[in-house]
Symmetry: C2
Subunit: 395 residues, 2 copies
């Protein structure tokens, strides 16, 4: 895969690229304010792959569809035309800033096939807006979020046969945005590549929606104020893998990320976290940490907050939660449920937290306790179109 | 450069690679303890590029030599044979973990041509050891540091004509190590690519060794305890570019990175930092922040500490320094010099720090004050072989 033998030798100096007609005025450090347009898309169809790989028992993110979307940008020429073409390797300069300085970001979203055979995305404009925010932090150029969404809709249409016929599977969509500056100065890239690949997926966790165990140790920090934890930059993820294996060494499945002297609870693995409990004032409360810069603003997180606030059956809070709060509440039998939320798993119950040598057992009736179950059902009913809702976006 | 049109379509599932004969037993989370061997290197010569690009007035890291070193690894087959071949684009799977999760790291070192026409590296084994440490943190496989150094020595020999004939220029060496897992799960990669490219360079800063101005604002944090600031991972650098442009907006050239409630001084841009002053106890002291997890352990930093300790003419300390310490010392006229250190610039004097709306002027006799000048001279004398020293490693 990483073999270089099939690639023609580039000119070692920056090669020239065809320049689009786009008018390109600069806008702060993000570069060009003009955007590509979905209407300019060029589609180059790949040969149909038949038979398709078996779409049952898929390992997350290992199988890809026939096509991908690529859109190139240069500081001098602005955005080029979107291109939907065969899925293939990228030809990347060895000095590329995405490879040396992690000038890279991504998004994660899904296309769902409903029982009506209609394909739907879930609140995709929120992903596009978060992607634009990540791009600004990474000093990558801005773009029109509606145009990117329309490009992605077209890509999914081209590969619509790849969306599984199953209510436990979907087509994972991975927009990716790289700085492709071909030189080693640590600076805003003069070239960039936005691309989108598609991968049919089953359940994220091989165990399904069973409760996960968490390892909570303050010695590793996922993100910090003044850093990039609120953006979906690659660097936030690579740094998490080493602690993840340490969690496994301690017999846990995921890391519960803590922060600060008081061991604030922030996120779980690559998910946001919710605690459903009777709080210190005796109120029934669904709580999740606030968006203070160290928390990824998850679309599922936001949707759970909005749904439960609409229900109006318990208090819903964005507030700080510490390990001391959790331990005390467990002792006093005030914890009802704890779960992670994310695009990959929707909701994922937590059954146990290993903290300072002590196993904290979280109540977990059956495999998925009542609130997590209700949220999982309401959200997937919207995603698969079983419940009409304007959060669903038709492909 | 980022065009995908010239690359053949990969199989979307993981392609098989030829497997080396290396015995591969696993060693914790870093994977395989066996290493490639320099003696197994395969050399494929590129056509000689004549005439070479003009090697004067080089912009840092924009021009590359004719060859590169690549070494592939898979979890099943271990390390393959080192390959020195033509400089060319990499063919990279679009789901590659180096592009999505920043599973990537690099090193920076230089080859110098002395007046005796001999090529030397500067303490290169320290770079190799730091690279191995970064690899462990990034969950990339381990390797034998001596073998990698010997591979690099051979690469530099092949491209020896590219080492400039100048005592203000050198051949920058950029070892790079990527996770090339072709799937989207956030996990230890099952494939990796180590490669090395070479770039003839002049002075890092376009202004030469003139004093730089720094912007010190606690709102951005470079690294955090429990993070990866003590490893040379790509994610540490990409996140620094946005603040760097904010520094420029405030009329400064680089960021002075602060940490903690007490605004500890940590690093400058991509350099370590030294303060030469009369400290709070009236002692003449050269001080730099300690390696407590947020500081990159620079080779030039270590060399400056070792050299000045050997001189024995003032106290040399690894200690915390806060902005309050600096401001107070400036008021009391106790600051002699401040400078950054790094492979790119060797030493780089600081002339001004903008902090909380106040311009703190650092004494800077001439363009390069006495201690910075002496260190620059002693270090470059060793690097260019004008002073014999076992820190120089002959190519």
């Amino acid at each position: 895969m990483a073999s270089v033998s099939a690639v023609p030798a580039p000119d070692a100096s920056a090669p020239s690229l065809k320049v689009s007609e786009a008018d390109c005025s600069t806008n702060g450090r993000a570069g060009c304010i003009s955007s590509f347009k979905a209407a300019d898309s060029v589609i180059e169809l790949a040969p149909r792959r038949e038979p398709k790989p078996d779409l049952t028992n898929l390992v997350f993110g290992t199988v890809f569809t026939d096509h991908m979307l690529t859109i190139e940008w240069t500081s001098s020429g602005g955005w080029q035309k979107p291109h939907i073409g065969p899925f293939r390797n990228l030809s990347i300069h060895p000095a590329c800033s995405a490879l040396h300085y992690a000038i890279q970001l991504f998004e994660g979203m899904k296309a769902y096939r409903g029982p009506d055979n209609v394909l739907r995305l879930f609140r995709p404009l929120l992903n596009m807006k978060r992607m634009l925010k990540s791009a600004e932090r990474a000093c990558l150029p801005s773009f029109d979020v509606e145009e990117l969404l329309e490009c992605i809709r077209r890509l999914v249409q081209v590969d619509q046969d790849w969306v599984p016929q199953s209510d436990s599977a979907s087509l994972y969509i991975r927009p990716t945005f790289l700085g492709t500056e071909p030189s080693l100065g640590v600076k805003k890239p003069s070239r960039a590549l936005l691309y989108v690949i598609l991968s049919p997926v089953g359940s994220y966790f091989s165990t399904g929606a069973k409760p996960v165990s968490l390892w909570a140790d303050p010695k590793y920090i996922r993100a910090w104020r003044g850093g990039t934890g609120d953006c979906k930059l690659g660097g936030n993820y690579g740094a998490s893998i080493y602690p993840q294996y340490e969690a496994v060494d301690f017999g846990c499945q995921q890391v519960l990320w803590l922060y600060g002297e008081d061991h604030q609870i922030t996120e779980v693995g690559t998910m946001n976290l919710f605690l459903y409990w009777v709080n210190e004032h005796g109120e029934e409360e669904l709580a999740t940490p606030p968006l203070d810069g160290v928390i990824l603003p998850g679309i599922t997180r936001q949707s759970i907050l909005e749904l439960t606030r609409k229900w109006g059956v318990f208090k819903v809070s964005e507030r700080y939660l510490t390990m001391a709060d959790l331990r005390c509440a467990l002792k006093e039998d005030r914890v009802k449920e704890m779960f992670g939320s994310g695009t990959a798993c929707v909701v994922c119950p937590v059954g146990r937290v290993l903290y300072q040598g002590e196993n904290l057992l979280i109540p977990c009736l059956g495999d998925c306790p009542p609130l997590a179950s209700r949220l999982l059902k309401e959200l997937t009913d919207i995603q698969y179109g079983r419940t009409p809702n304007d959060w669903a976006y038709l492909v």
